[in-house]
Every structure is written in C-alpha cells, then in structure tokens.
C-alpha cells in the first residue's frame, strides 16, 4: 500500500509539474530546497497569496510534501494551505493523512489535538471512516483539550457525511457526560449542529451544565444558554401561566399598568398554584451572574433566557445589563435595540426607568436612531408622553430626513395609543405641514390622515388646510392621502371638494397611478353626494381614466362608472353605491413592526431579520403539563452504590443495601422450598387479606406489627388464594445473608438487629400459621391438587419508582393475586413504599390517573406520614379491562409529584378457578378452532418434571391446577378478571423435554400473549 502511494505520489507530481511549470517555479524550487528558511519564505508568500484570494492550487504537490517538515512554522503554514485546498485535490491530500494519523498517537496532548483538528478539517469524503475512528478515540482521550477538539471535529464530519449521524450522536452523548468546563461549550455546540432535536440527551447533564456554566469560556456560554432556553421550554411549566391567560383575555392588561394586572391576579387565587421546578430555578440562578459578562453575546443570551423563561417579576433584572450594552459598538447597539424593541412591547415597565438612555444623538447612525425611536414609542404612556413628545420635537429638526419621517410616524403612533395627547400631536403635525421640506410635509399628511380618521367631525379646518396643500405638495403618497381625506369627508368641506376635483381633473394625466386612483375615488364620492356640481367633472375624469395606460385605472374607471351612473342596464348594486363608497371605515391601527416578533427566540438571527433563517430551532411553547422532572436526577456516586440493584440483588455489601436487604428478606436467594401446601377456609382467607391491608387485627399484636414491617410479597412467604375455598400457603425458609461488613453507627446497628429479630419472628409466625392450617386440613375436603402443587418461589415485584428518581422515595409493586375486596373485577396491586430519604414524607396519595377507556382504578387510601427510613404497604385495585395497557398516574407527596405507571403481565389479568377434569375437557371442547393456540416447545432442562412445570406456569399466570389422571399432562384453569372468560392451559410432555402447550381462551389476544409468557417461563 505504501509503495503504491509513493508511486502514485511520484506520478501525480510529474503530471502536475508538466501542467504548471510556467507558474510559481521559484516557489517550487524554494519548497524543494533543504533550507527551512527558504521553505518558510516560500510558504509565507503562498499564504499571503491565499489571503489575497489568489489561486495557488497548482503548488499543491510541492507543498504537501512538507507536511512532515520539522520546522513548526513551516508545518503550520502547510496545514493552512492543506485545509484550504484539500477539497479540490482530494487524491493528493490523502498523502498527508498518515502524518496526522501518527500525530494522533503522539504522547503530547497538544500535538494529538492539533493533528485531529487538521485531519478533521480536510474535507475529503474518503477519509470519513478514519475521521470517525479518530474522533471516537479522541473522545475518550485523557486530556480534556483533546476531547474538546473531538467535540469540534464532530460537526465537521457531520457536514462532510451526514450519514454518520447516529455514530456521532453516540460520541456526543459520551462527551456531554464530560465534567470539564473545557469540553462543555464545544460539545453543546456539536449537539446543536448535529442533533438539536435529541433533547433527551440533555436530561442527565442538565444540572451539571447549569453548575459548570459560569466557568465555561464565553463563546461556549452563549451556545449552552441558548440550548438550555430551548430545553427549559420543553421541560418546565410557564411561570407566567396565570398571567398569560389574562393577557390573552383582555387588551386592557396589555396596555394597562402593571398594578392592574397584579390586582387581577390576586382575584384569580383559586387557580392552581404554580410551583417552580427547582431545576428551572437553578437555571435562572446560575445564569444571572453572567449578565455581568464583558461579552455582549453572553449578556444577550442571558437576557433572552430571562425573557423567555423567568417569572414576570424577575425579568426586570436584564434591563440594566441591556442598557449597558448600548454603550458598546454601534453594531452591538443595533442588535440590542432590535431586541429591546421587541421586549418593550411585552414588558414595557422593565425599560421605563431607562427611558432617557434611548434618547437620540445627532451622531447616531440612522438605523440606530430609528430603532431608538421605536423603543421610545413603545415606552410612551400617559405619564411620560409629554417628555417624549418634547424630545420628538427636537428630532423633527434633524438633518437626517429619513429619521424625521420616522419621528413623524412615531408621533402618529403615540397619538393613536394615548388618547389624551391626540389633539396635541395633531396640532403639532399640522404645524409641520408648513415645513420647508417636502418629505416632512408628505409624511405628516400621511400620518394626519390616519389620525383624522379617528374623529373627522372635529377637524374640518385641518381638512381644509390640507386641501390647499394640493397645489404645492408633489409627493404622490401625500397627494393621494389628501384626496382620499377630502373624498371621505366631503360633507365636512362641501365647498372646497368640488374645486379640488376640478384642479385634479386638469392635472389628471400627469399624476402618478396612486393619485389617479384616488382622483377617481374622489370623483365617485362627490358624484354620489353632490352630483349637481360634479356630474360633468366626474364624467370627464372617468373618460380620461378609460384611456389610461394602466389597466388598474381603466378597470377601476369602468367599474365605478357602472356602479354610480344609473343606466337601464345597471344592476342591483348601484342602489347601494352610496353605502359602498361612504361606509364608515374603521380607523387604522398603528402597530409596532416589532409586535409579535417574540415568537422568534430573542437574540437570534431569525428574530433580527423577522424571518426564519436556515437551521433555526423553533422555541417550543411551554408544555401544558410538566414532563417528568425526575429524568434529570442523577445518581450521586458516593452516597448510593450502583443503580438498578434494588430489587434483585445477589450480593449485599453497602450498609444501606444490607439494611434494606434484611427488611425485605430476600425471596430469590433461597431455593424455593415449599414446606407445605395448605387449604384454608374462607375465614382465614379474609383475615389474610385484611392483614395485607395492614388493617386487620391479627391474633398477636406483635406479629401483626411484624407482618406490616416485613413486606408480604418480599417475605419468604407466598400466599396464594384460590377463588373457592381452597388456598394454600407456601412458606419458604428465609436465608438472609449475614452482614458482611461491620456496621459503623450504633443506631444503624440497632436497627439491623431489630430487623433480624423481626425476621425470625416472622418466620415463627408463619410456621405457626402453617401448623394451624395443616390441622384444619383434616377437616376439610381434600383437594387432589394440594399434594402436587409446589408453588412458585415468590410473587415477582416490579419497580414503580426508583429511589434516585423518587428522591429518596422508592416504590415497588406486585400483583398480590388476592381478590380485591371492594371490587371483584379489579386486580389487586400491592405497593410497598420505602422512604430512603432523611426527612419524612407526608400525604402520599395518587392523582391525575390516566387510563385507557373502560379501565377503572380504586385508589389506595392516603398515607399521611412515612417517616424517614420506614416502609409502608398499601393496596389498590385496577380494572385493566383484560388488557395489558398501563395505568398511568401521579404519585404525590407533600412536596413532589412523580409520574408512574403500572403495567400488568397478562398472567395477572386472571384469577384461578377450580374445575374438575371432566369440566375442563368439556370447556376445552367448546373453545376450539380460533380460540385454541398450540405451540410445540422444548422444555428447559431444569423443568422437565411435573413439579417444576406446575411451579413455573403458576408463577407466570394466576391459574389453578386442574386435577388430572395422566402424569404426562398438566392442566390449569382460570378466568379473566374483568370479563370472566375462561382460560385453559394444557402442557403435555413428551420424550426428551419436548412438550405441547395448548391454550384455549375466548379472548384470543389474551391467549396469544399468555402463550408467549408461559412459553418463556417453560423454556428459559
């Protein structure tokens, strides 16, 4: 391979030399020389040419040879060259790759980083796999600087080959977990470029990012803050929830003062109280100091975060910092003012104290002036309007005419928004009509027109004044505005209007199109109100318009003639001509161009342009209900050991685990060794049920206590109730492991001993129970099954809430297989709450149950107090409607809410029924065809005897054994809990572990699912 490359290299070089021998010969000679100084000189000249935009691609072969040059400056310049031209000279660029690959293995971290940087900057598709490999390796490098470089390389590779996305996301995920500030900014940047939609990757790193933020370099801070803004919008609730509803409801609050809103808020006290997620608070708290950053981009990023995420009362803090930025370069001012303009519409109060900071200086660039004007207009209210108008008056005298025009419009907007000053403004504007500058006059006319529309009857003198202006003013827009005004209010100026029309008719042909249209308009309106004087004039104007070059004007003339001049042919519409033309028109609303711009994330390019830029990530709306906040919980290493070992642990070593261990008393460890099967009468059955509910009066008080403490399901005992009178208790010997570590604290030790004692008590208790029951056995009907059944080890328990996500509270549940006494159609679910936290948990209850249709839930009674370190059980009932759909609900404590769900395995959706062999066969005969599912299986080696088959099937599903004559067949029967459909299971064993599993069930879905479960139980 190397030989090939070398050969190829030679060939290519000769080729190139032929082509480009005419140019840059001197440079090539210098590059080929042995002296570093000559090489350096040549490279400097080449880089200078690149900088000027000259093409030096023909030197590629000569330059690339020097990639391994010892002189560091030559090397660096070669890199510069290489990155610039590699894309155009892909084949030759490959020659340099091996140098970088060597560099990636260098013991010096900085060399590794720089090799990766250059390698990833070479945009040659063929090396994508090499880059991928390099990035993956660098991502687990010891040096954070190399890892940072890896993060930088990710978007480069992604833009080269987007198909690597999945692999790159893995790297990003890994780097996001990095705890150094050096990496944080760069990896979030990579995240934003490659997979901004994968918000789930952030959960576990959220708190860390918040805490690192202050120490991250400034550019990284900007990227992280922007990303976290989006994240927070998806994960937390709107802190202004209640207010925003009000704001939508009435415009008054929008313009009204803040006090009003506050008062109204208080009235709405009955609304759900809003509690801010602590993580939301964390973000706001940790970003606030960055408002003091020297970097304008960081300040802006924090400002937008506060604007989009903070409660209304807290947003104010950003105003001061934003105003400070107005002292910065004019480009910074420009961007900041754009954002302030948007903010000042939503939150005017925030900037009011800084009103004077937005005063305009004659030296400001025009675009800054216009933006400041916009802010001033937004900030205007009854109290400050006089100051603002005084300030505007000085602006009108400015030399900058665009700015003057903008000021006049701003005055117009103030006048429409604040009724008190409308007349003052109007008078001021009328004075401007005598201004020397035509642009000023024209702009005033346009604004006056808009203002007059609000109350025309008062201002006929102004209209008259304006009518006179038609002789002088030439700006088409202004002329058109005047004509429209006269036409619209011709009744207020009955004498002047026809005269104006006369003049206009004379100059019609020389007017601009918009003016012509308004002349036709005026003519039509006058014709309708004063046809005596204007009939001929109108005819004349319409005739002129008929032959106009512009088809809009011709069309308009034709249309208006038909409409106003009554002829025989004219339709029904002409009757309404007056109504059509002289209808009352609503006054125009003068709105800020920045209104509603805040749907773009502030500080973004898209916001600035008021158009979505490529790659813009929408700022999502707040969620209606907060997603599960526990996703952000992270295991703290030193306090708790490995996750996920809570339920099925084989080795207990840490203190905490051990304590739990003993409390729960393992069931899995012990080889399930049933000591007896027993049947019991209904009396004892009910007492058992009650004792599970922790409410019964057990025979011995102490034992009852023990029973409560020693969780039923996790105790070494398993109680199964058979629906009729038959029930049995299996009691497995407890084999709790002795503590392997000495206990440090005394109180803990005591506790431990206590629990050990409890356990023994428990054992005793059940042994007693067992003997009592076996005595009973003599008196009751003996069931054949009792001798054969050796029930399963234990009921399997499932995790509902892990102690990490639950912040100390852990919940497990199991299906107790007991009839749920309040409602026979419900499946009993027993839950065990353990408080691992150091503080008490209060008011444990459930809320907000989300169910599929038909499903029902009977909630467990509220647990008022769960002291720290204690455990409590409760039972709830769920009617799953014979489906395996999960029941979702919120588990609430006095402080927190957790989203949890219970999903039943299909085997728990049934209850056992007792059938005789004949009944079984009869029922089976009726459930053939579609209702029968047969599966051939090979039994697990350990499960070839009848005993273990029965045990496994009963563990998998809540069924009862049906007596059977043949030892080759095991039969089980049950009914689904909700619809009482029969479920019949037959396992017929054959030679060498082969077996046939048959399930007959009316409900085919249940049948299919059950087959899978039992199959798994028997074969695994």
């Amino acid at each position: 391979m190397l030989i090939y490359i070398a050969h190829y290299h030679k060939q290519v070089i000769t080729n190139f030399q032929c082509f480009s021998s005419l140019r840059h010969d001197d440079l090539k000679e210098m590059l080929d020389s042995n002296k570093d100084s000559l090489k350096l000189e040549a490279m400097k000249r080449i880089v200078a040419m690149i900088a000027r935009g000259k093409n030096t691609s023909d030197l590629f072969p000569a330059v690339v040879k020097n990639v391994a040059c010892k002189n560091i400056e030559v090397k660096k310049l070669v890199y510069v060259y290489l990155v610039r031209y590699a894309e155009e000279q892909q084949d030759l660029a490959l020659l340099s790759i091996s140098t970088f690959q060597r560099g990636l293995k260098d013991p010096n971290q900085l060399i590794r980083a720089s090799a990766l940087r250059v390698l990833s900057s070479i945009r040659v598709t063929i090396i994508v796999p090499i880059m991928m490999l390099a990035i993956k390796e660098a991502a687990s490098d010891m040096s954070p600087y190399v890892r940072k470089t890896a993060a930088h390389a990710i978007p480069k590779l992604y833009s080269l080959d987007p198909e690597q996305k999945d692999q790159l996301i893995e790297v990003i995920e890994k780097l996001l977990a990095d705890k150094t500030t050096l990496v944080a900014g760069s990896v979030v940047m990579a995240f934003e470029e490659v997979c901004p939609e994968r918000i789930d990757l952030i959960h576990k790193n959220y708190r860390k990012l918040c805490n690192l933020l202050i120490d991250v370099e400034e550019w990284g801070q900007v990227v992280i803050i922007n990303m976290l803004t989006r994240y927070a919008r998806t994960q937390f609730l709107n802190p202004n929830m209640n207010e925003s509803l009000l704001e939508e409801g009435s415009d008054k609050t929008f313009y009204g003062s803040d006090e009003d809103e506050d008062e109204e808020e208080e009235e709405e006290k009955d609304k759900k109280p809003y509690v801010m997620d602590p993580d939301h608070r964390l973000l706001l708290r940790n970003t606030k100091p960055l408002l003091q950053s020297r970097n304008a981009a960081v300040v802006m990023a924090v400002a937008q975060l506060y604007f989009h995420l903070a409660p209304k009362a807290e947003v104010g803090v950003i105003a001061k910092a934003l105003v400070r930025l107005l002292r910065s370069h004019s480009e910074v001012q420009y961007v900041v003012l754009q954002n302030v303009a948007t903010m000042s519409i939503k939150r005017r109060g925030m900037f009011e104290p800084y009103l004077k900071s937005f005063y305009i200086r004659s030296t400001d660039p025009t675009q800054i002036k216009v933006l400041k004007l916009e802010v001033l207009t937004n900030l205007a209210n009854e109290t400050n309007i006089s100051t603002i108008l005084r300030e505007f008056q000085t602006y009108i005298k400015s030399m900058d005419k665009d700015f003057v025009a903008a000021t006049i419009q701003a005055i117009g907007r103030c006048a429409t928004n604040i009724g008190e000053v409308r007349d003052t403004c109007l008078n001021g504007l009328v004075q401007l009509l005598s201004n020397r500058d035509e642009l000023v006059v024209a702009e005033s006319v346009v604004v006056i027109k808009k203002l007059l529309q609000m109350q025309p009857e008062k201002h006929s003198d102004i209209i008259k004044h304006m009518a006179k202006l038609t002789d002088n003013i030439q700006v088409p827009m202004a002329r058109a505005s005047i004509l429209w005004l006269i036409g619209e209010y011709c009744e207020h100026v009955p004498k002047i209007a026809p005269d104006v029309l006369r003049k206009m008719a004379k100059s019609f042909t020389n007017e601009e199109d918009i003016v012509k249209l308004q002349i036709i308009n005026l003519a039509a309106k006058l014709y309708l109100t004063n046809s005596k004087q204007t009939k001929l004039l109108t005819q004349y104007v319409l005739n002129l318009a008929k032959y106009d070059q512009n088809y809009d004007i011709r069309d308009r003339a034709r249309f208006i003639r038909q409409l106003i001049v009554p002829t025989e042919k004219s339709g029904a519409l002409s009757k309404y001509a007056k109504k059509l033309f002289l209808a009352l028109k609503p006054a125009p609303v003068l709105e800020s161009p920045f209104k509603d711009r805040d749907h773009f994330q502030l500080g973004s390019l898209s916001h600035l342009l008021n158009a979505k830029a490529g790659g813009y990530q929408e700022l999502p709306d707040w969620p209606e209900a907060a997603p599960d906040p526990s996703v952000r919980n992270v295991e703290v290493k030193d306090s708790v050991r490995a996750v996920g070992t809570v339920i099925y642990r084989d080795t207990g070593s840490s203190e905490e685990e051990e304590r739990k261990h003993e409390r729960k008393s393992k069931q899995r460890k012990s080889e399930s060794e049933s000591e007896s099967d027993e049947e019991e009468d209904s009396e004892s059955e009910s007492s058992q049920t009650e004792s599970e509910d922790s409410e019964s009066e057990a025979e011995v008080k102490k034992k009852k206590k023990v029973l409560k403490k020693t969780h039923f399901k996790h105790s070494n005992m398993n109680i199964c109730m058979y629906s009729c009178q038959c029930s049995f208790i299996s009691f497995q010997a407890a084999e709790s492991k002795p503590p392997s570590k000495p206990v440090k604290k005394d109180n803990k030790k005591e506790k431990k001993e206590m629990s050990l004692l409890d356990l023994d008590d428990c054992k005793l208790f059940f042994l007693n129970l067992f003997f009592k029951l076996s005595a009973l056995k003599e008196n009751t009907k003996v069931m054949a099954l009792t001798s054969t059944i050796s029930p399963s080890s234990a009921l399997k328990s499932y995790e509902m809430l892990h102690r990490i996500t639950g912040e100390g509270l852990s919940v497990e549940y199991c299906f107790s297989r007991q009839p749920f006494s309040p409602d026979a159609n419900m499946v009993a679910v027993q839950m065990q709450f353990t408080n691992n936290a150091t503080s008490d948990t209060k008011n444990l209850h459930m809320e907000d149950v989300k169910l599929q249709s038909g499903m029902r839930v009977k909630e467990f009674p509220e647990i008022e107090l769960l002291p720290a370190g204690e455990m409590v059980t409760a039972v709830m009932g769920i009617d799953f409607c014979d489906s395996t759909q999960a029941a979702n609900f919120q588990l609430c404590t006095h402080t927190r809410k957790f989203f949890v769900s219970i999903q039943p395995p299909v085997g728990e959706l049934m209850r056992p029924v007792f059938l005789t062999e004949n009944e079984f066969k009869k029922e089976q005969g009726q459930l053939m065809g579609m209702n029968e599912i047969t599966e051939k299986i090979t039994l697990d080696v350990k499960c070839r005897n009848e005993h273990s088959i029965v045990q496994r099937v009963i563990t998998a599903a809540n069924l009862s054994r049906v007596p059977c004559g043949s030892d080759k067949e095991c039969r089980f029967a049950g009914r689904t809990v909700t619809s009482s459909s029969l479920v019949l299971v037959t396992v017929a064993t054959k030679e060498e572990g082969a077996a046939k599993l048959t399930i007959n069930c009316e409900k085919m879905v249940i049948g299919t699912m059950l087959v899978k479960d039992i199959l798994l139980a028997l074969t695994q």
Binding site: V47, E331, Y334, T363, T366, T394, G614, Q617
Partner: protein, 501 residues
C-alpha cells in the same frame, strides 16, 4: 442559506452504455463534491451535495458529462445546520477586498457585492446595516478603524456572537501590531492569517484570549524581526499553548518580571445631552478600570473601593470572582498578564452628574442672503477644582454651509468642506479668559435656509479626578511573597457629550 440538499435521482449512471450501472461515483467540479451512494436499486441514488449557489440540477448535469443518464430528478431539502462563521473578508474604505479567510469550503468573493450595493446606498459607512440578507447567505459586518470586517454566515447564529467575535479579531490585531489598518494587516498578513486560523476552528471560536494567542504566535518586535531575518527563526511559538489547558486561560504560567508592578486607571466618561438653554436633558457616567499588571508568578489580587455603593451596574473581565463582588463588593482576581480591562461600570443614576463646562452658543442663518453667524463661548462649571484639558468642539454643519470665516480667541479651528465638519481645538480651559469662537458662515447661494441648527459635540479631559467620586481604597496581593509597585490613576473624559442648539 441551505447548505446541503438531499436529492434522490433516478438515473442510470454508467461510464459507457455497455457498462453496468455504477455502484457509486464521485464527481468533482471546482470545490463541489457530489457523491453517489447506491440506494434501493441500482438505478436510484441518493446524492449529497454541498450547494453553494445556483440550482442543483444544472450542476448535476454539467458535471456528469462522463456518464450516461436518463430519468428524473426530484429534490427534497432537509435543513442541516452549518457552522457559525463561514468566511471573513476584510474590506477597506474604498471597497477593495484585501484579505479573505475561509474556515470551511471557499465562498466566492462575489458574495460581497450585496454588501457593496448596500454601502452605495448608505451615505455614511456607519449607516450600512450590520446584518444583510442575501439569497444564500447572511452577511454580518462591523466597521472598525475605517475597515469593514465582513463575515459570511449560512445558518442561524446569534448575531451578537458574530459581532462580538469580529470585534475581538480587530482588538487582537490592534493588540499585536499597535493599530488596525490595511497597511499594517498587509505587512503582517501571514501572522494575521495564522491568528485567524487559531481564533476560529470550523467557524467556532477556539482561542480568543490574547494570552493564549501570544504563546502560540508571538507578536512581532523590531528586535525579533531582525533576529529572524538573520537566523531564519520564526514568530510561531515553539512552546505549545498551555494557557488553553489551564483553568485560567487568560494567564500564562511562568511569568517573570524584575520590576513587579500593578497599575490601575480609573477612567470615567460623561455622557450627556444638554439642551439649548444649557439645562441637562440626560446625563450619566460610565466608567472603566483599565489595568496594567506585570507581576511574577500567580498573584491573587484584591482591589477594594472606598465607596463601592456608587457602582450601579458592572461588567467584569472573566477573571473577576463574581461571588466575592456580590458578597463583599471587592474585586478579587488572578490578573491576566499585561494590559486588560478589569471592569466596566455605570454610576447609579440617582447621583446628580456634575457637568464640567457650560456652553453659550448661537448659530443663526439669515433669511436674507446666503450667510449665517456663529458665536460660541465655553466656560467652566463643575470641575472639582481641576483644570479642563484637551477641550475640543466638533460641529456637523448642515450641507448648505459652504465655508466658515471665524476667529477663535484660543486654539484653532478647521472646517472640512467635504464632510462639513467644523472642529475647534481649544486645549486647556482658562477660567480667567474664556475661549470664544465667532464669525460668519457662508451658505450655498440659492439653497434654502437650513431648518435646523447643528448640535455641538464636546470633548474634554480632567486629570486626577473621577467625576463620580469613586476612589480605590487598597490593593492587596496574596499568593506571592514580593512587594509590587502599585498605582491608581484617575481620569475624567467627555463621552457622548452633546449640546443641542
């Protein structure tokens, strides 16, 4: 705007009609790459192309001359994010591009035409909008020292991010070469290019801290350039930058000085608008503390004030520990080496701002005849007992003013006919003999009388006083044994100080 497009092309691609359809093909055309990957069936391919401009179909056909193809092309355009800053162009005042740097693939300099168009329209270079939208790119420009720094952006990025970065580039050039001008940049073009290479990686800022940069690329000195010429040595540091690896990237390790010194300049600027009658429309004080710290090792400094309550709003160099400021109102920091801006502050607006001078002025243009009169007198007002120095008045005259015939009692004046700017350089203000400028202005014949009177911009300096009254009480150093020289200097300047007429 759109960087990459996904196009599914139903083509039968063969090198010749008899060949089987190719499994994958690589096209080359300029800096464009089109790669074909087999997809679904041999006749259908997915194409990824880096699209610069122009419709994709054209390029596809014009570049595929070697291949036979039949079928149709359909496009769907997924939006892919691109890097932040794509390219940088430096443009001088007269509109020549004299340097270009691309951090990704090359973008033709014709993209700047949109900027030139906007520049044509604007009267003043400052009036060119900093953000321009073109069909495929966004241009973000800053104007510094008569140069335009024009960056090309392809996708969403916070505009301030780019603007702040461009200013940082200009600052760095200024820091390295003493000034930021076309001639200086072109004289040091290789160093500038190397700097740009280090400052940005793939469009994302990498090393912007001057200390880190100086470790990698040494700023030129006369001595070194002589030595380099003789020995063939280089400006590129042979040590690799350790600053980037440390927790305090702004300070390099192993700093040594024989004279250890720390100087702080408290500079305050008065921003004010005075109206015709001389009353204050708006005034505020903005301050900055510039530091020059040359201390050996890793000193940990604490700077405290006599009256920190004056400070209303502050922004800090990243070295300042924000928590200590919050709790104790002292500046605690490990300083960068050399010159840096320690903090910026704004003085609480509750305090009345002392206005050091008053201005009596009258500028009138006569209705009859093309002339006007100008009479300006400046006197001291609240100077805290210090002398006002470097007093200067700048007036932007209306366009109609052709020339000025004035007599100053002190200093001298110039009137620039092209820009219509009148500058009166007064110098020291003598309270005994107030400076006055009076005389006539001649207007363009026939032009209407200017509507407005120009406003006066005042420049001044007062040494040894911070007008807000802010005082540094002490500077303590921890972490090092030696005793440094310490010094604090105060200075008050006029900022945006404007008198309306």
């Amino acid at each position: 705007m759109i960087l990459q497009q996904q196009i599914s092309v139903e083509l039968n691609m063969r090198n010749s009609p008899s060949d089987p359809p190719c499994q994958s093909a690589l096209f080359k055309g300029g800096h464009q790459n089109i790669t074909f990957h087999q997809h679904v069936n041999p006749s259908q391919f997915i194409v990824w192309e880096l699209l610069q401009d122009g419709p994709i179909c054209r390029r596809l056909f014009s570049n595929s001359g070697n291949f036979w193809h039949t079928g149709t092309i359909s496009c769907n355009i997924p939006e892919l994010a691109a890097e932040m800053i794509h390219s940088l162009f430096l443009i001088n005042h007269s509109g020549d591009i004299f340097l270009e740097k691309h951090w990704k693939s090359v973008i033709s300099r014709s993209v700047c035409d949109y900027f030139f168009e906007a520049k044509e329209k604007a009267v003043d270079p400052e009036n060119v909008s900093p953000v321009l939208q073109t069909p495929h790119h966004y241009l973000i420009t800053i104007y510094r020292d008569k140069l335009f720094f024009l960056s090309v952006i392809q996708t969403e990025v916070p505009p301030l991010f780019v603007i702040e970065f461009l200013h940082r580039v200009a600052d760095t050039i200024q820091d390295y070469f003493g000034e930021c001008s076309e001639s200086v940049i072109m004289d040091n073009v290789v160093t500038v290019y190397e700097l740009l290479e280090e400052m940005l990686d793939n469009g994302f800022p990498l090393a912007t801290e001057s200390n880190v940069l100086k470790e990698m690329i040494r700023p030129p000195t006369i001595l070194r350039s002589v030595v380099n010429t003789l020995t063939g040595g280089s400006n590129v540091g042979d040590t690799l930058p350790t600053g980037q690896l440390s927790n305090i990237p702004w300070r390099r390790a192993g700093v040594k000085y024989t004279n250890n010194e720390a100087y702080f300049d408290v500079i305050e600027e008065i921003d004010a608008i005075l109206d015709k009658s001389g009353s204050t429309v708006f005034a505020e004080i903005q301050g900055v503390i510039e530091a020059c710290v040359r201390l050996t090792g890793m000193p940990d400094l604490t700077l405290s004030f006599m009256n920190p309550r004056l400070l209303d709003d502050v922004s800090f160099h990243p070295c300042v520990r924000f928590k200590r400021w919050e709790s104790e109102r002292v500046l605690s920091f490990i300083p960068p080496d050399g010159n840096f801006t320690l903090m910026n502050y704004h003085v609480s607006s509750q305090n009345l701002v002392a206005i050091p001078v008053y201005v009596k002025q009258s500028i009138t243009f006569f209705e009859m005849g093309p002339c006007g009169r100008l009479d300006i007198t400046i006197g001291p007002k609240q100077t805290m007992g210090k002398t006002v120095e470097a007093l200067m008045v700048t007036i932007h005259m209306p366009k109609a003013v052709l020339s000025a015939n004035l007599t100053p009692t002190q200093g001298n004046y110039t009137y620039d006919l092209a820009t219509k700017v009148l500058v009166w350089d007064i110098g020291k203000l003598n309270p005994q003999k107030l400076p006055n400028l009076r005389g006539s202005l001649s207007l363009q014949a026939g032009a209407p009388k200017p509507e407005d009177n120009p406003s006066l911009n005042i420049d001044l300096k007062i040494q040894q006083v911070a007008i807000s009254g802010l005082k540094v009480s002490r500077l303590d150093m921890y972490g090092e044994k030696y005793k440094p020289f310490k010094g604090v200097k105060y200075l008050t300047k006029a900022g945006k100080f404007q008198v309306r007429t």
